[in-house]
């Protein structure tokens, strides 16, 4: 909750749409957002969504149960491609999470007050996306029930993790990212839980929100410490969001596989993560603001800004592709050259050209104002971007492994129905978590939205008084 410039935020400036439509007061903001959870009738779309997401979650449960019973052999993984869809999905999901942290932490430090209306649900998106991401390496372990072997703990085998391995770094990076995201999100929720506690008519709801509010009463001393803590968490989460995908990229770059062993990976992974994350933010925001009539709070300005960030990071990713190809030629390494040739002409060439067409070519439609200001078009572009980013990870993981140094050990990986079931299942589980979240928690931060109002400034009348 930074100090913002509410007047600017309202006016928009330079002919841009405002961040919050005029006409709201502290009371109407509170009532509008809390009503979604407390009093308004749940829209039919929500029930349909929960139905579909619930069925897909059941598919996930089934796929995971069979995996536990049978083992990872039900997936299409083989030699040489030991990392199939599981790692593709892991990288894809964790990348999606990055936009939430970028919105909540980096944009807070940069005093981008427009973030106040989208940070809450973007943070929730982060948490749920990291939950899906975390599933994949665990399931890929082979014996997932022994996952705790990854952590350093005193055990009767007297075996300890090897800290020179990037796979161990990844365990620390992802678990820290999840924990800090969760704490950041919850600390942001505490004042809003107090608001819901005070508004709820239903006794059970009041009790639950009271417990979650921890007895928050809005004391000036509390707010002072709260703002310090919030800013510190943002400061800590900022390097964290840049580091997580960097560490994920280390999983690849530390190995000597052609196509992985490259210094371009960390920045290119981080840009790709933010790119796909903003696509997911738009995928969620556009239907939500329509179904819940939140166009006043999640305005065209928000969609426009998200689209611009997507365009900027998308072009960084495109630069990464160009550099990768250039370096393969300029570096003169036979295996690197072969890798690029294999991407362009090998068995997976269709995927490579599709992702180049989208991430280098198609993404440029975001330069036009018409696309950025037409929610339906923007939603479609975001969906295409998410598909392209998934293909990018597929190309990185699978194509590199399929043909490395030794032609006698080349191979082909074709995902099985269990690979697909697990992937589709996590999309359903993600959607289910998200739908439950918007039903029971305020999806827009009530307290932070109030700071956008010009009347939240205490200064002006005081000066005239003296």
């Amino acid at each position: 909750m930074e100090h913002k410039h509410p007047v600017e935020a309202m006016a928009g400036g330079q002919g841009q749409p405002p961040v919050l439509q005029p006409g709201y007061t502290f009371a109407t903001i509170t009532d509008k957002i809390s009503a979604i959870v407390l009093t308004r009738q749940t829209p039919l779309g929500w029930f349909v969504g929960v139905g579909i997401a619930g069925m897909l979650s059941a598919v996930l449960l089934y796929a995971v149960s069979f995996l536990m019973y049978q083992g990872v052999g039900i997936w299409g993984i083989n030699h040489p491609i030991g990392w199939g869809l599981a790692i593709v999905n892991f990288v894809w999901w964790i990348g999606i999470g990055h936009a939430g942290t970028l919105i909540s932490a980096i944009l807070l430090l940069l005093r981008q007050s427009w973030r106040n209306s989208i940070n809450r649900f973007a943070e929730a998106m982060t948490i749920f996306a990291v939950m899906q991401a975390g599933l994949f390496p665990l399931l890929h372990l082979g014996r997932p029930w022994l996952f705790y072997w990854l952590f350093p703990y005193p055990n009767t085998m007297t075996v300890w993790p090897q800290f020179r391995s990037p796979l161990v770094w990844d365990v620390f990076a992802v678990s820290t990212y999840f924990t800090i995201s969760l704490v950041f999100w919850y600390i942001g929720l505490v004042p809003d839980m107090a608001t819901l506690r005070d508004r709820a008519q239903n006794r059970a709801a009041r009790m639950i929100y009271a417990v979650l509010a921890l007895g928050w009463r809005g004391s000036a001393r509390h707010w002072h410490r709260y703002e310090t803590a919030y800013l510190l968490l943002a400061g800590l989460a900022t390097p964290l969001v840049l580091s997580v995908h960097t560490v994920v990229s280390f999983d690849f770059t530390i190995a000597i596989v052609p196509g992985w062993h490259s210094t371009i990976f960390p920045p290119y992974f981080v840009a790709g993560a933010i790119y796909s994350g903003f696509a997911m933010v738009l995928i969620l925001a556009i239907p939500i603001r329509h179904i819940y009539n939140l166009e006043d709070m999640i305005t065209d300005r928000h969609l426009d800004n998200c689209a611009k960030i997507m365009l900027a990071t998308g072009l960084i990713v495109a630069y990464g592709y160009i550099m990768e190809t250039f370096m393969a030629w300029y570096g003169g390494n036979l295996y690197d050259k072969h890798l690029i040739w294999n991407r362009m002409h090998g068995p997976y060439r269709a995927l490579y050209w599709a992702l180049i067409a989208i991430n280098v070519g198609f993404v440029n439609v975001l330069w036009t104002k018409k696309v950025r200001f037409t929610p339906k078009l923007l939603w479609f572009v975001s969906l295409v971007v998410l598909v392209a980013m998934w293909l990018e990870r597929f190309v990185i993981v699978v194509v590199s492994l399929s043909q490395d140094f030794l032609p006698s050990s080349w191979g082909i990986y074709i995902p099985t129905r269990w690979d697909w079931a697990t992937f589709i299942g996590t999309i359903g589980f993600f959607a289910l978590c998200f739908l439950l979240f918007i039903r029971v928690m305020p999806m827009i931060s009530i307290a932070e939205m109030k700071s956008l109002l010009p009347s939240s400034e205490a200064k002006a009348p005081l000066e005239s008084e003296s």
Binding site: M1, F172, D198, G215, T228, L236, K459
Partner: protein, 177 residues
């Protein structure tokens, strides 16, 4: 001896009014008081005489502790408890320890900031006398409150009441324990 009531609370409509009122009360010599608002109002904590908090220090201590724990743990595990020769590299390969050191600094620092803030705020606190005031539920919506507590040496039911009414509040309520 415990005073018969917790204090007197005055209700205001705008951030500007509450800041002005808090400042007046501080000038008047009241110290055991607190202001309540639905969102952080700039200058309000300063107006009641609260300037510095220790959250940043707690965060720093947490972060340093995390860093020390991470380095110590990796050194002990990779050099002393379970030395493994990986391609002839030194056991004490400190550059490889940087990532985990960074992660645990952020983890400990972040948890210290969040839970430290809650702890010095005295939260969770399920009961507080102010929750007895019916209109206080609007402190989380659109109203602003200034409570002068009975433990303040200057507190006197009548003079404090008079002082609070001079600030032009919507309403003044006695807060039972």
């Amino acid at each position: 001896m415990r005073p018969p009531i917790y204090g007197l609370v005055a209700e205001f409509d705008t951030p500007a009014e509450i800041v002005a009122a808090a400042r007046r009360a501080h000038e008047e010599g009241y110290r055991k008081m607190d202001a309540y608002s639905p969102f952080p109002v700039e200058g309000l904590s300063e107006a009641i005489g609260f300037h510095k908090d220790n959250v940043a220090l707690i965060c720093l201590v947490g972060g340093v502790l995390g860093l020390a724990t991470a380095y110590g743990m990796q050194y002990w595990i990779n050099v002393i408890a379970y030395p493994t020769n990986v391609g002839g590299r030194p056991l004490h390969s400190w550059p490889a320890f940087i990532v985990v050191c960074f992660e645990m600094t952020v983890l400990f620092g972040g948890l210290a900031a969040a839970f430290g803030m809650l702890a010095i705020n005295g939260l969770p606190m399920p009961y507080h006398p102010l929750f007895n005031v019916p209109s206080f539920s609007f402190a989380s919506r659109d109203k602003f409150f200034l409570c002068i507590e009975a433990v303040d040496p200057k507190f006197d039911r009548e003079t404090t009441y008079k002082f609070l009414s001079s600030l032009g509040p919507r309403m003044i309520t006695e807060v039972p324990h």
